[in-house]
């Protein structure tokens, strides 16, 4: 164990009768940015607040570095947090906000000022120290919140949906900044979001949660390319899930769908009913049928400039497909044949 790691041992959390967290084991390596991703109510924020010390676990133990902090008050944990609402103190200036943590730790005035300025410089807000938070734009307030959290040189930085109050264009910019600061300071960071694109963009590792437990964890590419369940396949990137029969499993699988038998170069361990995962942009649409294609009827077509989205009715159910625009787009009511690349296809259990 080293400084900055975070470890959960069988941590649970109940709010009265509601189970917010089923027994959770977690091990976060120092210096990595790990994202907790999931739909609302999945337990990701509870997990973050347990690390922060803002909630006490019902059972289990929490370690930060080598120290057991299960019963340690948030005040004394070497953890900082950036809040969704920023939580800047409205009655203090930007400099007072950033210096607050140092002031309550009784850092001397002479040391305080340079550290506050250094913190503001880190987020590109030199010279804003005398303003009030209300005089800053949303993006600037966000950066003050980050500066306030990092001047304390925490072992772990927590970010609770830090971008959700920013508009879409600013988000990409700020998330790159956060990632850049995290890597420069080599901080351990835990990042909560419900936006899978944001999670893919910033994380070393993503932990997807569902129903108060971990659904799957791994590097962004792992989750996208090797989902272990229909939920993950659908949650990380769009996916069409088609019911198929797995006739033979192993390193490669044989599936039966729409009365045809196909061999896919993907591993799967059981046989029987399963889901075929097809990513919308990996589908081929054409006027001619081929060996592995499905006949379909276009029930809805939307032209978005850089892409065309189709909703298709097939014998196996509705399929969502995305193509690049070409000279002769399909129209509603057209009959098309949907084909896919067996190499990219995945099988998940129901």
């Amino acid at each position: 164990m080293t400084k900055g790691s975070v470890r959960f041992e069988g941590v649970t959390k109940h709010f009265d009768d509601v189970v917010a967290l089923k027994p959770l084991d977690l091990d976060i390596a120092p210096g990595t940015l790990v994202t907790l991703l999931g739909p609302s109510g999945c337990g990701k924020t509870t997990t973050l607040r347990l690390v922060a010390g803002l909630e006490s676990p019902t059972s289990g133990r929490i370690f930060i570095g080598d120290e057991d902090v299960t019963h340690l008050s948030a005040t004394y944990r070497k953890v900082s947090m950036v809040f969704q609402s920023y939580a800047l103190f409205p009655h203090m200036t930007v400099a007072e906000n950033v210096g607050y943590g140092l002031t309550v730790k009784r850092v001397s005035k002479s040391e305080l000022r340079p550290r506050v300025e250094e913190g503001l410089a880190m987020v590109g807000l030199e010279g804003f120290g005398d303003r009030l938070p209300s005089e800053l734009s949303g993006g600037q307030q966000q950066r003050v919140a980050v500066a306030r959290a990092i001047v304390l040189e925490p072992e772990v930085l927590l970010l609770d949906e830090p971008l959700s109050n920013l508009d879409a264009k600013l988000r990409r910019h700020v998330r790159e900044e956060i990632r850049e600061i995290q890597q420069r300071l080599n901080l351990t960071a835990i990042y909560v979001t419900h936006d899978q694109e944001e999670a893919m963009a910033v994380s070393d590792r993503i932990i997807v949660m569902k129903n108060a437990e971990i659904a799957q964890e791994g590097a962004p590419a792992d989750l996208y390319e090797r989902p272990n369940s229909a939920f993950i396949a659908d949650f990380i990137g769009d996916a069409n899930l088609l019911p198929v029969e797995v006739a033979r499993s192993g390193e490669t699988v044989d599936i039966v769908f729409d009365g045809r038998r196909l061999t896919l170069p993907t591993a799967f361990s059981t046989t029987g009913q399963a889901n075929l995962v097809l990513r919308p942009h990996q589908l081929r649409l054409s006027h001619e049928a081929s060996a592995d294609s499905l006949p379909a009827e276009v029930s809805y077509a939307a032209y978005l400039g850089n892409q065309v989205q189709y909703t298709l009715d097939t014998a196996l159910g509705e399929i969502f497909a995305v193509t690049v625009p070409d000279a002769t787009p399909f129209r509603k009511g057209d009959t098309v044949h949907v084909g896919f690349d067996p190499v990219a296809a995945r099988i998940v259990s129901i």
């Binding site: 922060a52 010390g53 803002l54 909630e55 006490s56 299960t70 019963h71 340690l72 008050s73 948030a74 005040t75 004394y76 953890v79 900082s80 947090m81 809040f83 969704q84 609402s85 939580a87 800047l88 103190f89 409205p90 009655h91 607050y100 943590g101 309550v104 730790k105 009030l132 938070p133 209300s134 005089e135 307030q141 306030r148 959290a149 304390l152 927590l158």
Partner: protein
């Protein structure tokens, strides 16, 4: 945890070993005990060495705490040790205080009431225990939070529940000190002197319980109806003088008790202006109709309608305009919208106002005292059972239990039945749109009912002022300053001398209210802070017990206090302290509610951010929450100050020659029929309170503006 525990250990040992354990003869702050540390001035250490060996007991708690601090290997073991030793020490301390040399005494001893030393020692033991609790991971491991919870629970237990048990004990006590039992309680409790229904069946008068109940129902129905009419005018019409209506809501806060009753006597009494007029014009007989149910009811309607109005403004405004607009777009007309949408949504709020009116009415003491005549209600009967010619504390206790049963039932109904049915249509989303206007019939009904009533109220207040300047109302209307001079004369000769009869009680009232106000606000806001911001086991019970004192009528509290605090271990009667304490716990619910409202508007993540940045809860409270709650704090201060000035029901039992209060002074004058000086004094009080309120409003007004331009752009 360790630092805090060591601190309290040191404080506790000092309190035990050095400070005078019992009440000192000449008061703590004169420090006479510093030079003479014998007798009642002795510290627990001194007394324990001398003649009271049982005072060694609390030390066991400190020994245990010291051992836990020194020997425990893990944090958890230390926490358990601290909790156990603190609790044990506290139990031993309380045990010896309650059982040795008191009425429950196991054996005789000369134990005076406890003083500074015992207080400090007990606090230290309590905080050692709560620090231990924080170490067990409760209250998110924050010693300040667990300490605050412990302190407030202890205070409420000592000053609300402990006195109430005395009423129970007294009511169930058997004659000759033969212990407790139902055999004498039941027949007295259910006797026809309390529950008689002669006034309904036609055989004479009713018992005070029935009278109180009927009066409560009538007043609650009346004030709810009037309040609704006012609220409808205020929120659903384009009535021009709305500001004037708003003034109405301030009146009951600053009106000393009896004032309405006196004004009614001046108008409708035997020598009242209106009585005289009808007698002269139509030859009607002058009767004493005012003295009895009708008069009390009228006075209560005037006193409590503004309170219902205030409650119902919120209720009527709470109905989301978009609901009404939706109804209108579905082709309902104004009447149908009101009948099928707005009114059903208001119904829980109306029930709430009704129950509040009921509690206010049967807890009311001033109006029945002045106007009751032969119409006996519980609150005044309790008073007479204590101070009357035949003092009967047991009867007072039984009547108190009856009254408490009524108010508690209404309080419980309000919390658990009405509280749950609330359709909160006020959402965080900006709800644009306008409230539907009233249909014309309803609007004119409201105008016709409410506006004459408002006018009548104004006239009464004007009369008060006028009446204080005439010689003898009804007989001699010559202009005079006589009443003011008798009460508030100042002689400037060799310095300033306040020779008026009222100055003494006036200054006492202001001083005690001024001391009580910040303490009330502090206890109220601290409770609100715990309720809004902290999670801990037993929070619901905690909230319930802190709000409970709202449902305990002042007369009951007064009786309970004289029964509980008249002898050791806690001997407070006759002091100014008991008045301060009674104000704190009577007015605390107001501070709690104000605090809850204000704190709910502060984003919780502000505190969490401060905590995450390494500040503890105390620092967070001081540097983040309090600065942002300025207006709420000022409001709580003003309100508890003013309520302390106008409070009478509990106070009247607790005043003493040295600490007389304005309201009890007025009661004395009223009982002697000296109405002139009584209303002159009341006018002075009204002006005093108005000045304070307006000054605070100006300060708050400015504060709010400054805050708005800082916070808004968040």
């Amino acid at each position: 945890m360790k630092r805090v525990a060591v601190f309290w250990l040191v404080v506790g040992v000092i309190g035990w070993a050095l400070l005078p354990w019992y009440l000192t003869q000449n008061g703590f702050w004169r420090f006479g005990w510093l030079t003479d540390m014998s007798g009642t001035n002795a510290s627990a250490l001194g007394a324990a060495l001398h003649d009271k060996p049982w005072l060694w007991l609390p030390v066991l708690g400190f020994v245990g705490a010291a051992l836990s601090l020194g020997l425990a290997r893990t944090q958890l073991a230390m926490a358990r040790g601290l909790f156990a030793s603190g609790t044990a020490g506290l139990a031993l301390l309380m045990g010896q205080a309650l059982l040795i040399g008191t009425r429950f005494g196991l054996w005789e001893a000369d134990n005076p009431g406890i003083g500074a030393g015992a207080f400090v020692t007990a606090s230290a033991l309590l905080f050692i225990a709560t620090t231990g609790v924080s170490g067990l991971g409760k209250g998110r491991g924050d010693a300040f939070v667990t300490g605050l919870v412990g302190a407030i629970v202890a205070l409420v237990a000592i000053f609300v529940f402990f006195p109430l048990t005395f009423i129970l004990v007294r009511a169930f006590e058997l004659k000759g000190g033969a212990g407790l039992g139902f055999s004498e309680f039941l027949p007295r409790f259910f006797s026809s002197t309390i529950w008689g229904i002669g006034c309904i069946t036609g055989g004479g008068s009713c018992g005070p319980a029935v009278n109180s109940f009927l009066l409560g129902l009538s007043t609650a129905a009346g004030t709810t109806f009037m309040g609704l009419m006012f609220a409808l005018i205020f929120t659903r019409t384009d009535f021009r003088a709305k500001k004037l209506l708003r003034v109405l809501t301030v009146l009951p806060i600053i009106t000393p008790p009896f004032v309405i009753g006196l004004a009614l006597i001046l108008l409708f009494g035997r020598a009242g202006t209106i009585t005289e007029f009808f007698s002269w014009a139509f030859g009607w007989e002058k009767t004493r109709w005012l003295y009895g149910f009708h008069g009390v009811w009228l006075a209560q309607m005037l006193s409590f309608t503004p309170i219902a109005f205030l409650v119902l403004i919120g209720v009527v405004e709470g109905v989301s305009p978009s609901m009404e607009e939706a109804s209108q777009t579905l082709d309902a007309n104004r009447w149908q919208t009101f009948r099928y949408i707005s009114f059903p949504l208001m119904r829980p709020g109306l029930a709430n106002a009704f129950l509040l009116g009921f509690i206010e009415s049967i807890a009311d003491f001033g109006n029945p005292l002045v106007l009751g005549g032969n119409f006996n209600v519980l609150s005044t009967e309790i008073y007479f059972a204590i101070v009357g010619t035949i003092a009967d504390p047991a009867q007072a206790a039984i009547l108190s239990i009856t009254l408490l049963t009524f108010t508690l039932s209404a309080f419980l109904a309000q919390r658990f039945w009405v509280g749950k049915k609330n359709y909160a249509t006020v959402t965080g989303k900006g709800d644009s749109g306008r409230h539907a206007a009233l249909n014309p019939v309803l609007r004119w009904t409201a105008y016709l009912v409410a506006l004459p009533w408002a006018f009548f109220t104004m006239v009464l207040y004007a009369l008060i002022l006028f009446g204080s300047f005439v010689k003898l109302w009804g007989y001699d209307h010559t202009f005079t300053f006589e009443h003011y001079l008798r009460g508030f004369k100042i002689v400037v000769r060799n310095g300033v001398h306040f020779t008026g009869a009222a100055w003494d009680s006036y200054f006492t009232t202001l001083t005690i209210s001024a001391i009580a106000a910040p303490l009330t606000a502090a206890v109220g806001l601290a409770t609100a802070y715990l309720l809004v911001r902290q999670k801990f086991t037993g929070k619901n019970a905690f909230e319930f017990s802190t709000m409970l004192s709202f449902a305990i009528p002042g007369t009951v509290i007064g009786v309970a206090y004289i029964m509980a605090f008249n002898f050791p271990p806690i001997e407070l009667t006759g002091t100014g302290l008991i008045l301060i304490i009674v104000f704190i716990f009577r007015n605390m619910p107001v501070g709690v509610r104000g605090g809850i409202a204000a704190m709910s508007q502060l984003d919780k993540s502000l505190d969490e951010a401060s905590i995450m940045l390494g500040a503890n809860s105390a620092t967070t409270l001081r540097r983040v929450i309090l600065p942002l709650m300025g207006p709420a704090i000022l409001a709580a201060l003003t309100y508890s100050f003013v309520r302390a000035i106008t409070s009478v029901s509990a106070v009247i039992f607790l005043v003493s020659a040295r600490h007389n209060m304005a309201t009890s002074f007025i009661v004395g004058r009223v009982e002697n029929g000296e109405y002139g000086i009584a209303i002159a004094y009341a006018s002075v009080l009204i002006v005093t309170m108005l000045t304070v309120i307006i000054a605070m409003q100006l300060v708050i007004g400015r504060r709010t503006l400054r805050r708005a331009d800082r916070v808004e752009a968040h």
